[in-house]
Structures are given as C-alpha cells and as structure tokens.
Symmetry: C2
Subunit: 346 residues, 2 copies
Amino acid sequence: SRSIRLAVIPGDGIGQEVVAQGLKVLSAALPQDVKLETRSYDLGAQRWHATGDTLPDAELESLKDHDAILLGAIGDPSVPSGVLERGLLLKLRFAFDHYVNLRPSKLFPNTPTPLAGRPDIDFVVVREGTEGPYVGNGGSMRTGTPDEVATEVSLNTAHGVERVVRDAYERADSRPRKKLTLVHKNNVLVHAGHLWKNIFDRVGQEYPEVTTDYLHVDAATIFFVTQPERFDVIVTDNLFGDILTDLAAAVTGGIGLAASGNINPSGAFPSMFEPVHGSAPDIAGTGKADPTATVLSVALLLSHLGYGDEAARIETAVASDLAERDAAAPRTTDEIGDALAARVSG
Amino acid sequence: SRSIRLAVIPGDGIGQEVVAQGLKVLSAALPQDVKLETRSYDLGAQRWHATGDTLPDAELESLKDHDAILLGAIGDPSVPSGVLERGLLLKLRFAFDHYVNLRPSKLFPNTPTPLAGRPDIDFVVVREGTEGPYVGNGGSMRTGTPDEVATEVSLNTAHGVERVVRDAYERADSRPRKKLTLVHKNNVLVHAGHLWKNIFDRVGQEYPEVTTDYLHVDAATIFFVTQPERFDVIVTDNLFGDILTDLAAAVTGGIGLAASGNINPSGAFPSMFEPVHGSAPDIAGTGKADPTATVLSVALLLSHLGYGDEAARIETAVASDLAERDAAAPRTTDEIGDALAARVSG
Ligand SMILES: CC(C)[C@H](C(=O)O)[C@@H](O)C(=O)O
Ligand SMILES: CC(C)[C@H](C(=O)O)[C@@H](O)C(=O)O
C-alpha cells in the first residue's frame, strides 16, 4: 500500500490556520489506500524567542526524511527582519536545492481583480530558487557610521541557470500555447543578464516548438497590468520572480489565492509547498485568512508526488468554490476549508 | 537678462521626435526676457555604429557647461544590450551625481488606466540614482562555458542613502499628506536593507510631521494595483525604483505620460530630464509617439531651474489636453506638441 510522509511547518501568524485547512483537504483528496503520515515541526518566531533556534541541524536532517514539506508562513514583527526569512525559509530552499520555485497565476471566473476588463490570465512563473541576490553573500563595514558601506552580491552560475531554464522550456513545451518569456534586466545587470540570455537562447534551440520572448523586468510589470494574457510561462531570476509573483497574485484575485512549490526536480531532497502570502500577523486568529492558497499548494504537492488526478480534483473544487463566492458573505478560514474538503470528497 | 543653457540629447528611436515637442513647449512657456540657448549632442546608436563612441570625455566635459540636459531616449536593438545604457545613459547619471531620480505619478481625469475603479493616484517616487545594483560592479568568469559564474554587486553607502532619504523627507514634508514610504527588501537583502532602514528611521526623527511606512518591494507592487492612493512619497533603491516607476506609469495612463528628472540637488552638475519610456524603435518615425512624458519632463526641468510658474503652466496645459483627449481620434506626435504649446502660450 502507498504512503506519503509529509513534514508540516505551520510557522507563524496565520500559518497554523491555513495549514490546518490544507491538511483537511489533503486527507479528503487522497485515495483510501494511501497512508498519510504527518510530522509537525515547531519552527518560527515562537521557537526563536524561546530557544534562539531558527532551524537546527538535527531538524534539517529529519526533514530530509520525508516525501514533501507543507509550510504555512514564516515571519513576525517581533523578530528582526531577515532572521527567520534567512535562517529558516531560505535555508530550507537552499539546503534542499529547490531550484524551481513554481508559481502559477490564473484569474478564475467571479474572482475579483483590480484590473478593468477582466483579462484572461493563465500563466506560470518559474522563479529560480537557489541563486541570484538571494544567496546571502553581502556584508557591511563601518556599520552604523556615516561611512558605512553595505553590499549584496548576486551570484549566478551556468549550472544554476541552465537547469531552471530547461525546466521552464519543458513546462512551456507541454502547454497548449508553448510560449516562454525570459525576464531579466540585461541592459543594466549585464553580466548576470547575459549569462541568462545566452543560456536561454542556447537551450531554446532544443525546443523548436516553443516561441520565446525577452522582457526587461520593468517592462514586464507594465504588461502584467496592461496585457497579462500575453504570458504563458515566464522564467526569471530569484528576486525578479519574487516581485513579479506578488504582482501576479494581486492581479489574479490577491495573495489569498497564490500557491507555490519549491521544487527539487531531481528528488534528491523533499520539495516544499507553501502559499505565496506571508504570516499576516494583523489577521492571525481572526478567522479571516483565506486558506485557498495553501489548498492550491497542496494540489501542487500532490501533482509533484504523482497524484495528478487528486490534484486536479482539488483545483476543480477551488474553481467551483470561487465561482460561487459571495463577497458580501465572507466565510471563515475553517468554513472555506470545510467547503473545499466537502467538494473534494463529494 | 536671464538665460538657460540647455544641452539636448535626442538619442534613439522616438527620442528625436519627442524632444522636438519638448523644446517647442519649452519655448512657448518661457518668459520673453529669458534667452534659451540649446546645443544638441549627437549621441546614441547611430553615433556608436559610426565611431564606436558612447560618450567621449570631451563631450562629457562640454555637457557640464550647461544649466540642464534634456534627453529623449537611448537604446536600439542593433546595439548589444547594455552598451548604450551603461556607456551613455547611466554614465551621465553617475558622472553628474544624479542621486535623486524623481518620478511623479498622477492619474489625470479622463486618462485611461488598466485599473478598475479609477483610484485617486498622486504620488512621487524618489529613486536613488547613483548606487545599488546599478553601479556596474560585476563580472563573469569562465564566460560562455558550463562553469560560468556571473556576479552583480549592489553597493550602498550611508552617504548615498542618507542624502536621497533626506531629499525624500523634504519632499514629503512639503506636501499636504506628509507621508513617506520606504521600499526595500530588508528581509532578504539584509545588509543593504538594514542600512536603508536605519538611516530612514534616524533621519525621520528630524521630520516629526512626516508619517512613515516600510514595505517590501514585492508587497509594494501589490499596493500599486490594489491601493495606489495610499502612497504620497516613496523612497527606494535604484533597481526597485526602476521597476516600481514603470508599474506606476502603467497604472496612471501609460509610459507615454511618465516624466522624470535625474537631479543633482547641489547644483554641482547639470540635472537631466527625460521621459521614463524608452526609444520604442517599433513606432519611431510613425508619428505615434506621445510627447507628453517629455513635455512633463520639461516642466520638471523648469521647476528645477526656478521657473515654478512656467512649470505649473505646462502641467495645467497637459491636464487640460488630457481631459479633452478622445481615444477614438488619436493625434500625431507633432499635433500633440502643437496643442500643448498653444495652450501654454495662450
Ligand atoms: C518571506 C520572503 C523571504 C519570501 C521571498 O522573498 O522569497 C517571500 O516573499 C516569498 O515570495 O516566498
Ligand atoms: C534604459 C535603462 C538603463 C533605464 C534604467 O534602468 O534606469 C530605464 O529603464 C529607466 O528607468 O530610466
């Protein structure tokens, strides 16, 4: 009989609440014969305050011993900015070589968008997850003095760029429109930019059916609001991907719906699935958090583990739920989770 | 009698066309007793193809000897990406220490916006112009091989950050709403981010009437489309400012209206005014380019040189012209320039 060993990191703020709904829907979606074993990890702001730990080696080791990780949200205003992000969230992405940070964006019918004219949005951003300005290679000297100098180094390797670009071509090739857009800023960040562009062009020769396109990141933000329907698959650097996917979430109904997978396609380490949103401490405990982004992240998780039908059932359930949502009658986190679970099992 | 010595760099693509309209409106706006002396510099793609020069030292020297610079647009697909941007445009911004890259964003009545509900947008981005990832401090090794490593270094100094932050506080303090938002990514780019945040907080103590706010750049893009009315003055790093101001232009009627000033507040070097848009080679020569962004940049130029009334007259002319525009009856570049000049003189 089959089984899934799932590590769960609820994290901070609304993390706990949305993860509970994600697990509810996961259980509802799984076939009877699949055994789900979950182990919860107490990591995040509370743990850091209590012990000073962000992600001890023993727990990093133990996390490895799972098929996948489901993460809620990390970060709290009581913790200095960067401590948990770098010490926990990014540490996981880097340690487990999550080089494909997959972020689909789709505007569902009936879902509110700030854009006039409700454009037809359905694209996926393949954000590089292990390089670029996120490597943590920076420092400061004469810190706190009028002579301080602070640096941040973006590191980019042919190895790191090629593997994520290849993954993006594969995804584009398997979609009906077969279109891939590279986003960078190669007129200013010429060294990193040319590395990306050269590899993008070279690998493209192996995918003659994929139409390609290049945009500077600033121009890309314009098209996200004026012509988002032009995008199919986008591949981009870690920082540009961070910025673009929040904007993509905003135009497709908000951060409450945006799912993501931090994927290690080789399978050498467990992949990690999380909503794009943060810990939203302002609404933690109020029942106002929308668990849909986490539920859609569970669908990405199932799909990654080979449960494609179950993933599709969750996506259909979300689409139907969204189609019937009534902005005038908001439901609680729990109610949305229950409704989705019911649709998935029914 | 007074005079303005203006250096003009029309540049590439539509640059020539829009600059011609900018000069037309400038002449119409200036009081009779002000003598306008212009000198045009042949810089850009054509020059580079002919001579290999982007900005020779002699011309850089000669540019210094002016009260201001009006620039059209730089860049052409026939030139490798980065050559003209780094060798001409950014070289000017750096050589003339244009540390305040000023980019106002206002949604005028009747102007189309991709946002539903036509929010009330009226903010200004103070983008740092001489530091950050734009310094050109990067390189690559084993270039073109599977072992290539490419870097981009973001350099940030207390000196450079404090002066632009101070400028932004001054601007916020002089506006009715007195609100200043810092945008960075200090949960990931911790060294540069903390330098910015610390200086932002410290300088803020000198401006007790200014309300402050901090946003990560990814979150800021969300608010640009869901709640742009929340912004008054934004101060941010060179790269984040580049991205945010294109998005700001998109939501306030497009890049055809977005003006900018590359300002050296000390007056040690001439400040440079340019539309935010690029050279748009696809529409060059068709008469489709909207010169309004250049005309509004001329208003920023006049205001910088102390001609506040004349600047205001141009802004009023643009507002009236926009109010009467008919999307079904587009005018040529020249017609728009003529109409604006007529309004300004009338
Ligand atoms: C919390 C933060 C470190 C993270 C990132 O920048 O990657 C988040 O914004 C995201 O997009 O997952
Ligand atoms: C052309 C390019 C170098 C420039 C920049 O990145 O600053 C442009 O996008 C701008 O915003 O003025």
